[in-house]
């Protein structure tokens, strides 16, 4: 084990290890609720519904998938522990370097899919 393993020779942190915020990759999310349940501060909430799959071969058993309707992280509650990133079985959550900007009202720290997924790149 090495301390400061994420510091390169110039002492700056690699962008991938910056824990500025958490990014959602919505198309990977299966609405399995694991992050919501594991979060120690209860800062994640999501809504989902099931949809029947239409492109099944004839005679196949009916199948359905979960569709994510809403995914929110309340940055006022998040303590950046990364348990959700670690627990997600589908790698739908990952660390992002950009920090959550300051806002004028507390409610504006609740970010939905657009804010969480829109900061890729």
């Amino acid at each position: 084990m090495s301390i400061h393993a994420d510091l390169d020779s110039t002492g700056t942190r690699d962008a991938a290890t910056l824990h500025g915020s958490i990014r959602l990759i919505a198309e990977r999310c299966t609405s399995c609720m694991i992050c919501v349940r594991e979060c120690p501060t209860w800062c994640i909430s999501l809504d989902s519904h099931t949809e029947a799959l239409s492109d099944l071969p004839p005679g196949a058993r009916e199948r359905s998938r979960n569709v994510l309707d809403r995914f929110e992280i309340d940055w006022a509650l998040c303590m950046y522990c990364g348990i959700c990133v670690e627990q997600c079985p589908f790698d739908a959550l990952e660390w992002a370097g950009s920090h959550v900007p300051a806002v004028g009202r507390l409610g504006d720290l609740v970010h939905g899919v657009d804010e969480l997924d829109g900061r890729r790149g």
Binding site: M1, D8, S31, V36, P40, D47
Partner: protein
């Protein structure tokens, strides 16, 4: 220099409470003179003790760190006032006094100051009510009992799960276990509370 300092895996010393002070003193004499941390874990559910862990470092140059962990088990007691005591090491490591005060406030474990110790060893860090020892595993997070838990829903469902597979959040025991009790009813066993506090699928009781 690249790569930073390498910390070697901990060497663990498990000692009785009576040897605690002496072992820390011995390791200090061997050059482990950097107090990395001093903390505690409530082992309730495994055994009725609080594990106290002192981690000390010895530096070999700037790139190599040797690490030892001294661990001892203190009786936790069914209530915080009945928790065990441990000799303070703040006479050896003045900074340890702050950690000891933290452990006292969060777990109820008392520290006996040696004659030469800094007087803070037997002072609390915060003036918490004696019943509030929030890192003991049978401490119920009362504010959460009233708050709606976002994890109660099942995937693909917009309402809470049916009661047969209801999930409970960590820190909130079943109402049957923890809720209002008749005056002559005994308090729930701490083991049951600790098990309930882990969260997950609710066990049907009785």
């Amino acid at each position: 220099m690249s790569g930073g300092a390498v910390v070697l895996a901990d060497t663990v010393h498990r000692v009785a409470t009576t040897e605690w002070h002496e072992r820390v003193a011995d390791l200090l004499a061997e050059g482990y003179n950097f107090l990395h941390s001093l903390g505690a874990v409530d082992e309730l559910g495994r055994q009725p003790v609080i594990r106290i862990i002192c981690r000390l470092w010895r530096f070999g140059g700037v790139t190599r760190v040797e690490s030892v962990r001294v661990e001892t088990l203190v009786a936790r007691g069914d209530t915080p006032e009945l928790a065990g005591r441990l000799p303070s090491v703040s006479d050896l490591l003045p900074g340890a006094g702050w950690y000891e005060r933290e452990i006292h406030d969060f777990f109820g474990v008392g520290f006996d100051a040696p004659d030469t110790a800094a007087p803070q060893a037997d002072l609390p860090l915060l003036n918490l009510n004696d019943a509030i020892r929030p890192l003991r595993k049978d401490f119920v997070l009362a504010a959460r009992v009233a708050a709606p838990w976002p994890g109660a829903k099942e995937p693909g469902e917009d309402a809470a799960a049916p009661s047969r597979r209801r999930m409970s959040p960590a820190g909130v025991p079943d109402h049957d276990l923890w809720g209002h009790r008749a005056a002559d009813e005994p308090p729930p066993p701490p083991d049951d509370i600790a098990a309930a506090l882990a969260g997950g699928r609710m066990r049907r009781r009785r």
